[in-house]
C-alpha cells in the first residue's frame, strides 16, 4: 500500500474542516424518495471530494486514496457527516468501486474507478436468476469466450437499478463440467447494448426499482473479467460482504416527505402527535423498538472500537440481521400508533403512507442481499463455527445438478 506522509489526528481533522468550510455549500434537495441516480450537482460535488482525496482515504495514494488507517478515515467520515456532506467513506460503502479495485484488471480499473467514485456511471447487480436466488451458485446464465470477448446468454431477475445502469456486475457460468462453485466467472457487463433487455417489475411498494433482465448474445470484453476464469465465486464473496455491511448500516426513511422530528425519537414524536403516548401497552412497544435501534448503534460502535484496537469483532456480522429486526419492528409500532388510520393511503395521509411503506419495504433488508435465513446460516457457520449444512450438489459436475422451481 502506498503510504502518504503520516498525519496527526488533529491536523487531519483541521484539514477536513477547513476544506469543508471552503467548499461545502450544500446541495439542492433531490425531490423525495431514495435517489437511484445522482443529480448533476451531486456529481459535481463528488468530483470535488474525489479530487481532494476524501472519498476513499483508506485506499492507496495511487488510487485516489491517502493510505490512512481505519481510525483516521473515520475522522474524515465524522467531519463530513457533521457537515451533512455526502461522498466520504466510499472505501467502506461503494461496493462497485471496492470490488473493482480488489479484483479488476488494470485496464478496467483505469477506465472505471474514477467514474464510479464520482457516480458518473450507473451500476446494477446481475446475480439472481429465476432458478437461483439464495443459492447463487446455481446460476444458469452462460458466458462463452469468442476471440477477445465473451458472449452472454440467460435471464436475471430482481435486478435493482437495471433500467438506468451502464454496467452490471454479472455472474455467469463458464464451465458446466465442474462442481457448481468452480465454474462461475464474474464480469462487468455493459448494459447499453442490443443484447440486454430490461423489463421493470412492479414491486409490493408499487415502485419499480427492480427488473427482469433478458440477456441474448450480449457482448462483454475480456478485460471486463474480474480475477481469473472460473474464479467468480471468490469475487462474489468479496462483493456480497461489502453489500451486507452497507445494508447493516443504512435504511430508507418514509416516502411521503412528511417532516420528522429532528430532536425527538421519530416514534415518540409520532405517538405524541397521534395522542397515543399515554397508552401503557404502546409505551412498552415504543421502548422496545427504540431499544433495538440503540442496541444496534452500540454494537456498531463497539465493533469499530474493537477494530481500532486491532481485534475483529463478531458484532460486525450482526448488523444486517439487527437492521431487518429494527425495520420490521419500527413499522409494526408505527402501525400500532396510527391504528385504523393505517387503512388509508395517499397524499392526505402521509403518516399512514410512511407506516405502510416501511412495513412493506422492510423486506428490502430481510430478503434483498441475501435473506435473514441465509444470514443466520452465515453467522452460525462462520462466526459461531457450527458445522456447515450438507449440500447434496456440492461436489458433482453442474451439468448433473437437479433444478426446478
Amino acid at each position: 500500500m502506498t503510504q502518504a506522509a503520516p498525519v496527526t489526528d488533529e491536523a487531519l481533522r483541521e484539514e477536513v474542516r477547513a476544506w469543508l468550510a471552503d467548499n461545502w455549500k450544500g446541495l439542492p434537495r433531490s425531490g423525495g424518495g431514495a435517489g437511484w441516480t445522482a443529480s448533476p450537482e451531486q456529481k459535481a460535488w463528488l468530483a470535488k471530494v474525489v479530487e481532494a482525496r476524501w472519498a476513499v482515504p483508506r485506499w492507496p495514494a495511487a488510487w485516489l486514496g491517502r493510505g490512512l488507517s481505519d481510525a483516521q478515515a473515520r475522522i474524515i467520515e465524522r467531519e463530513f457527516a457533521a457537515a451533512g456532506a455526502p461522498g466520504a467513506g466510499q472505501d467502506r460503502t461503494n461496493l462497485w468501486a471496492n470490488t473493482l479495485l480488489a479484483c479488476g484488471t488494470e485496464a478496467l480499473k483505469q477506465k472505471l474507478v474514477l467514474p464510479l467514485l464520482r457516480q458518473e456511471v450507473g451500476m446494477c447487480l446481475l446475480y439472481s436468476e429465476p432458478g437461483a436466488g439464495s443459492d447463487l451458485a446455481g446460476i444458469r446464465t452462460r458466458a462463452e469466450r469468442v476471440g477477445d470477448h465473451f458472449v452472454v446468454n440467460g435471464q436475471k431477475v430482481w435486478t435493482s437499478g437495471a433500467a438506468t445502469a451502464d454496467y452490471g456486475m454479472l455472474i455467469a457460468r463458464t464451465d458446466w463440467d465442474v462442481p457448481k462453485h468452480k465454474g462461475i466467472s464474474f464480469f462487468f457487463l455493459p448494459m447499453k447494448q442490443p443484447g440486454v433487455e430490461v423489463r421493470p417489475l412492479r414491486q409490493i411498494t408499487d415502485e419499480s426499482h427492480f427488473n427482469e433482465v433478458f440477456i441474448t448474445d450480449a457482448i462483454v470484453p475480456a478485460e471486463n473479467l474480474l480475477r481469473d476464469l472460473g474464479d467468480g465465486w471468490s469475487v462474489l464473496q468479496t462483493a456480497l460482504a461489502y453489500e451486507r455491511s452497507v445494508m447493516g448500516e443504512s435504511a430508507r426513511g418514509g416516502r411521503s416527505g412528511a417532516a420528522e422530528s429532528k430532536t425527538e425519537e421519530p416514534l415518540i414524536a409520532l405517538a405524541r402527535e397521534a395522542g397515543a403516548l399515554g397508552d401503557p401497552l404502546l409505551r412498552q412497544d415504543l421502548a422496545q423498538a427504540i431499544a433495538y435501534k440503540r442496541l444496534n448503534a452500540l454494537n456498531t460502535a463497539r465493533a469499530k472500537a474493537d477494530l481500532a484496537q486491532g481485534s475483529s469483532s463478531p458484532v460486525m456480522s450482526l448488523g444486517k440481521l439487527a437492521m431487518s429486526r429494527i425495520l420490521h419492528e419500527e413499522a409494526r409500532v408505527r402501525t400500532a400508533i396510527l391504528g385504523a388510520a393505517s387503512l388509508l393511503e395517499g397524499p392526505d395521509h402521509p403518516r399512514s403512507e410512511d407506516a405502510n411503506f416501511l412495513a412493506l419495504n422492510a423486506y428490502f433488508t430481510s430478503i434483498g442481499g441475501g435473506t435473514d435465513q441465509i444470514q443466520r446460516n452465515i453467522i452460525g457457520e462462520r462466526v459461531l463455527g457450527l458445522p456447515r449444512e450438507p449440500e447434496v450438489d456440492r461436489d458433482i459436475p453442474f451439468r448433473e445438478v437437479r433444478s426446478g422451481r
Binding site: 425527538e264 425519537e265 415518540i268 405517538a271 405524541r272 403516548l277 401503557p280 409505551r283 412498552q284 415504543l286 421502548a287 422496545q288 427504540i290 431499544a291 440503540r294 442496541l295 444496534n296 452500540l298 454494537n299 460502535a301 463497539r302 484496537q309 463478531p314 458484532v315 450482526l318 440481521l321 439487527a322 429486526r325 435465513q373 444470514q375 443466520r376 446460516n377 453467522i379 452460525g380 457457520e381 462466526v383 459461531l384 463455527g385 457450527l386 458445522p387 456447515r388 449444512e389 450438507p390
Partner: protein, 368 residues
C-alpha cells in the same frame, strides 16, 4: 485503581475470570449454593486481596476508588462463573449507598472493613412487597432521644443473612432516610427466604423497635444512585452469564450428533444460536455503554442504565431458556448446569425492578 484504561479494565476482568475458573467451577457453585451462608469465605478473601470487594470504595478508606466501568467488567466475569457472593449486595449496593449519602462518620466506620472483605453490609430498600420504588418502603423510624427505633418489614433483602451491618431505608418524620442497624440487636428478626435461584440469598427482616442510627440526610437520591450502580453491575453479570451460556450451548451443538449430523448443522438450532448471538452481543454493548455513561455522570445516564437493565435481563432470560431447549432432555436434569443459569436469569430479571418498569423508565428518560 481509579478509572482504568480499556486494556487495564480487560486485564482486571481476565484476572477475575482466571481466579473464578479455578475457584468457582460448576462443582464449587453447586457445593457453595447448598451451604448456610451461600458463599465461600476463602474465595471472598481472595477477591478482597485483588481489590474487588473495595472496587468503588475511595482509596482513603482502603478501596480502589474505581467506578461503574470496572464494576461492570468484574461482574461480567462473576456472571459467567455464576459466582455465589455478597459482591452485589455489599461491594456495590451498600458501598455506593454510603458513598452517595456522604456521611463521613459512617464511611470512616464501615468502609475500610468492607473494602478489606471483613465486614459485609447490605441495604434493605424495599417494603414487604419487594418493589424497589419510593412508595414501596414501609419501615418507619421514630426518634427516641438521640437515636431511632425502627418498625415494620423489609423483604427481598439481598444477602440479609450474611450481613454484619444493615442499611435500612425507612420513613422518618422528614421523609425517607437511611439507618444503620445491627442485625443482632434486639428488635431485629431475620428469616432467610427459600430462593428459586439457590445461588442467591434473600432475607425478610422484621423490625420491632430496633435501635438504629441515622446516616446522612435525605435518602432517595442516594438510594437511586446505589440502585443505578447495582443495575449496571447486574447488567454486566447478565451479559457475561448469557455469553457463557451461549458458548457452552454452541459447543454442545457441535458435538451432539443426531440423524448422523451434529445438531448445530440443523437450521432450527443454528438460527436460534445466531439470534442468541445478537442478543448477547447487544447485552454486552448495552451493559458497557451504561457503565461508561454512569461513570461520566452523563445527562443520558438514566436512559442508558434503563436500556441496559431490560436489554440484559431479556437477553439473559432468553439465552438460558433457548439453551435448555437446544440441549434437549439432558438440560432437564438437575445434574446439567443449564438450569443454574436459567434460575439465575429468572432471578436477576426481578431484582431492582422488572423489564416493563425499566422500559417505562427508559421512555421517560427520553422525554416521553
Amino acid at each position: 485503581m481509579a478509572s482504568l484504561s480499556a486494556e487495564e479494565r480487560s486485564a482486571l476482568r481476565d484476572a477475575v475470570s482466571r481466579l473464578l475458573a479455578d475457584k468457582s467451577t460448576e462443582a464449587d457453585v453447586r457445593r457453595t449454593m447448598e451451604t448456610e451462608t451461600g458463599y465461600d469465605s476463602g474465595l471472598w478473601g481472595q477477591l478482597a486481596e485483588m481489590g474487588v470487594t473495595g472496587l468503588v470504595i475511595e482509596e482513603a478508606y482502603g478501596g480502589a476508588g474505581a467506578g461503574p466501568m470496572e464494576v461492570e467488567a468484574v461482574m461480567e466475569a462473576a456472571g459467567a462463573a455464576l459466582l455465589c457472593s455478597p459482591l452485589l449486595a455489599s461491594s456495590v449496593l451498600a458501598a455506593e449507598l454510603l458513598r452517595a449519602l456522604g456521611d463521613e462518620d459512617a464511611k470512616a466506620r464501615l468502609l475500610p472493613d468492607m473494602a478489606a472483605g471483613k465486614t459485609i453490609v447490605t441495604a434493605a430498600l424495599t417494603g414487604d412487597a419487594g418493589t424497589w420504588v419510593e412508595d414501596g418502603v414501609s419501615v418507619t423510624a421514630d426518634a427516641v432521644d438521640e437515636a431511632f427505633a425502627l418498625n415494620g418489614v423489609a423483604s427481598y433483602v439481598l444477602n440479609g443473612q450474611n450481613a454484619d451491618v444493615l442499611l435500612v431505608l425507612a420513613r422518618a418524620d422528614d421523609g425517607l432516610a437511611v439507618f444503620e442497624v445491627d442485625p443482632k440487636a434486639d428488635g431485629v428478626s431475620l428469616a432467610g427466604l427459600p430462593t428459586f435461584d439457590h445461588t442467591l440469598r434473600l432475607a425478610r427482616i422484621t423490625f420491632s423497635g430496633a435501635p438504629a442510627r441515622r446516616i446522612g440526610g435525605a435518602a432517595w437520591r442516594a438510594v437511586q444512585a446505589a440502585i443505578d450502580l447495582a443495575l449496571v453491575a447486574l447488567a454486566g453479570e447478565q451479559a457475561g452469564a448469557a455469553q457463557r451460556c451461549l458458548d457452552f450451548t454452541v459447543d454442545y451443538a457441535k458435538n451432539r450428533y443426531q440423524f448422523g449430523r451434529a445438531i448445530g448443522s440443523f437450521q432450527a438450532i443454528k438460527h436460534m444460536a445466531a439470534d442468541l448471538l445478537l442478543e448477547t452481543e447487544s447485552a454486552i454493548s448495552a451493559a458497557r455503554h451504561a457503565a461508561a455513561r454512569l461513570a461520566e455522570g452523563a445527562a443520558d445516564a438514566e436512559a442508558a442504565v434503563s436500556l441496559a437493565a431490560f436489554a440484559c435481563a431479556d437477553a439473559f432470560t432468553r439465552t438460558t431458556a433457548d439453551a435448555v431447549q437446544m440441549h434437549g432432555g439432558i438440560a432437564f436434569t438437575w445434574a446439567h448446569p443449564a438450569h443454574l443459569y436459567l434460575r439465575r436469569a429468572r432471578a436477576d430479571a426481578q431484582l431492582f425492578g422488572a423489564s416493563p418498569a425499566h422500559r417505562e423508565r427508559f421512555l421517560k428518560a427520553l422525554g416521553a
